[in-house]
Symmetry: C2
């Protein structure tokens, strides 16, 4: 491995695919700014590889992978931080590989990850290719990739349902062609730990020259066993784990980074393996990904759920007081919880604000800092204590939203019971003119959305609407996330979010954010194509 | 096994502990009506054993276990359904066992589940007992339990961290004393599938007369491996799995019923095991438990998450269209999704309404049916289609709320941006008088809660506030769930929920529901004591 990789035999490389496989969660679509911010945070978290996207999927994907490669894939002047490998996905096609290289070439450590399906069912129904054709194409495309980039990863899609003998043959060809990492995906989330460990052991035992490459595992959680399968793969000899924050991803999602990392950490005596993750950044990364994607984390989610370290039962609390190891196998501090929560109040000045943001990893220029400080003062007037979570929501709401085609100017809502919930909305449109509409609805949010619909010409269906308070207390900010699908041809699902202490205002922002996303993408004349999962 | 148990060697008994270990999730506290309704649904789902509570924890627990035993634990006249075993938990203490028997004795198939810790760390710090003392107490208490009840389950708490030799000794004594089920808990969620399978294999190989009992497994999800551990235990010879709906429970929760059941179902060729669960009831049970406990299910939750069967990526959809098995290992219909969604509209009459509720398993007397029908008509006036999920929310909101000490009469809210969010609330108090207060807040919810606080004298802190739309469309009903902790002595966490098309009204209802719960429990003069987890 080069200097950014892991060199000892006990080290596991963490390959984060939140921005690629994770972003394929329905409605999770992230814009360039959000992707860049998540990538920065992943670097702080200490992941070894960031899979930043699938450039052939859309010009937007290409742009965001390129930005991540330029910014997060290069040394930050004045800091001694490790620079992660930036990876782009490509089907085993020249055009895809060309675009992938175009996207990652500016990174200090670029990687191209190419894949082709090797299971009979996928070759027959999806690729319509024979085994011989698949083998030839694979060898040719890895060789083609290698001319661009030394660091080449290859995945046999649907590996866990492929004929092992054919798999060994494909992998041997790929290693000969120069692949440096071989990734084994359980594409449909079908295997058990025993089976998946056996699959990896079989590959190690039967693939010529396998010791030359890093073996990687990529599991899905359809039967709830992604973490156990990943760990079984590592135990069997794999040294890279492909994971996402909060386990997001299509269907039941991918393996959760936090679970694999904390299992290796908590059970290091058993596994004898370690990662280079700064576990104290886990909680914050989890919150950021949840806020930006609108994908909530359930309270009983392992490691990052709100209850993961909460103890209710009397006896249990009693045991905890006597000796915390009676019920607790790790400390909340290890994942970055229970750190100082109260940070700033209404008397905090510009300097304290700037220092806190810098400590949190935000680097804002003077204009943005000033804008953020104004919002902070507004918030601090309403809310006694402003926490890190409040600041994260504020920054996200200010700077990581899509281009504002329509912008919220004023909103007036009257509602209650009995009543006729009514909303009046004033928006500023693309040409700067202000438009006002009133509407009545089944509730204040419905009325607000109907008033916005009367101004913004995008037919859509609201699929999902969620609000959660991001901090404790009745004066907390609410974060609203919505998912909606556009109607008519090329129907797409997009998400949006907004934060405010007034949840109706936050609801209006979230809806506008999603509509703006639809409008921006439509204006660019770009349709999303050919996203895939492995 | 008796006629309600499972008799073949390939059958796995499903022991549901949603109402006991699941309910110990912070803030998930359920009232008697909610527990009864969940127990009814668990019976429809086809679980073999319902652990209904821990009667020694509080008089409320005792009452609700007794109700479940009476109603759900006995044959329903006119129906041929199987009657589940009703189980109550008891520490290895006479007083606990007496109460447990008191609670379950009216069931057709009663079970008492007693436990004691067997790990050195728990014996030393929690029990302050030696091995000899623990062994003697265990034998004595199982014998004591046996005088009440033939069906006795025993759990060595923290089994996965106990000395195996001591464990075998305890289990042999317990079997000799007459226990019929031996349950092995991984109390702290610490083990891996390999280790847990080895533990079960060790018990099978080394415990005299183990073949006389059903071996059971009970796992926690702290490292994300509860499902894989449970399956490893079944593979090693266990024939009962202790699980909860949605995997709720303290910290990261228990093993999720839906994951274990669907893994056995999807991979039956591998495991060769089956359960008697009606899998088409899974989605509905999941929604009910989520609504009643206020514990949201994340979109990427395996089996029951909103995205579990959703496919975003282009290639992937393409593959699905060509052959669904390319990416899908089970069909949404198998878990009761994708069934008829549009059920009733504003022109539906009383008869159609009654029939639909009956099909859904609700049996309401005339008065309640009339009240529900009125609410349905109000809803149908606002909302084009009323779905099963709408009806479930409506029924829960009407009938499973705590006693209304304070009741919402009127609510008026004015909010927006810029603005001074103001709420005026009229409540009917315990003595029937109507009380009005207005308040200004940081948003309409905050203003509403401040106005309620000015009327209802319960100091509290709002810990969590969530809203989700339960169906698609902008006219959807919102379900608000809150968790709050009372202040002062004997501080407790309670949850509340409310449904309405107006989310401010739903927010007011949820807050009142939680406050009423605090007030009711306080009036009863009961403090929760001694809940525990295993």
């Amino acid at each position: 491995m080069d200097e950014s990789g892991v060199s000892t035999k006990d080290a596991v490389m963490i390959f984060d695919t939140t921005l690629r496989d994770g972003e394929q969660s329905p409605g999770a679509a992230l814009n360039v700014n959000e992707k860049l911010e998540i990538a920065r945070q992943l670097a702080r978290l200490g992941v070894d590889v960031i899979e930043a996207g699938f450039p052939a999927a859309s010009p937007d994907d290409l742009r965001s992978v390129r930005r991540v490669a330029q910014v997060v894939g290069n040394p930050d002047s004045g800091k001694g931080d490790r620079v992660p490998i930036i990876c782009a996905l490509a089907r085993a096609k020249r055009a895809d590989i060309d675009l992938a290289w175009e996207a990652v070439k500016s990174a200090l450590h670029p990687r191209i990850h190419t894949f082709i399906a090797t299971s009979d069912i996928h070759m027959k129904y999806k690729l319509r290719m024979s085994r011989t054709e698949t083998l030839a194409r694979t060898r040719e495309m890895v060789t083609y990739t290698k001319q661009y980039c030394d660091d080449v990863e290859f995945s046999p899609e649907d590996a866990s349902r492929s004929d092992p003998e054919f798999l060994y043959e494909v992998l041997a060809a790929v290693i000969e062609a120069g692949a440096t990492t071989i990734n084994i995906p359980d594409t449909v989330g079908y295997t058990t730990p025993q089976e998946f460990g056996d699959l990896i052991r079989g590959i190690v035992a039967n693939t010529p020259a396998i010791e030359k490459v890093i073996l990687s595992v990529h599991c899905h959680n359809d039967l709830g066993m992604a973490t156990a399968n990943t760990l079984a793969g590592l135990k069997a000899g794999a040294r890279q784990a492909e994971v996402t924050i909060n386990g997001i991803g299509e269907r039941a999602g991918n393996t959760a980074l936090e679970e694999v990392v904390m299992a290796l950490y908590t059970r290091r005596a058993l596994y004898g393996l370690h990662t280079r993750i700064d576990t104290t950044q886990i909680a914050r990364t989890s919150r950021m990904v949840s806020n930006f994607t609108g994908l909530l984390v359930q309270p009983n989610k392992a490691i990052v759920g709100a209850n993961a370290f909460a103890h209710e039962a009397g006896i249990h609390q009693d045991g905890m007081l006597k000796h915390h190891a009676t019920y607790e196998i790790m400390r909340p501090e290890a994942v970055g919880l229970a750190q100082s929560q109260l940070v700033l109040g209404k008397h905090s000045g510009r300097h304290a604000f700037r220092v806190r943001l810098a400590e949190m990893g935000y680097e804002l220029d003077e204009d943005r800092l000033e804008a953020a400080f104004r919002r902070f003062k507004e918030l601090a007037d309403k809310k006694k204590w402003v926490t890190d979570a409040d600041l994260e929501a504020l920054i996200a709401d200010l700077f990581y939203q899509p281009k504002e085609v329509y912008q919220l100017v004023d909103l007036l809502v009257v509602a209650g019971r009995p009543g006729m919930p009514t909303a009046t909305v004033k928006l500023r449109g693309p040409d700067g003119e202000e438009l006002i509409q009133a509407a009545v609805g089944t509730g204040p949010v419905d009325a607000t959305y109907r008033a916005i619909d009367a101004i913004v010409p995008v037919a859509n269906t609201l699929l999902e609407y969620n609000v959660h308070a991001i901090t404790e207390g009745i004066d907390a900010q609410g974060v609203v996330s919505v998912r909606l699908s556009s109607e008519g041809e090329g129907s797409r699902v997009v998400g949006g979010y907004g934060a405010d202490t007034d949840i109706i205002v936050a609801s209006a922002k979230a809806y506008l954010s999603a509509l703006n996303r639809l409008l921006t993408q439509r204006t660019d004349g770009e349709l999303q194509i050919a996203k895939r999962e492995e």
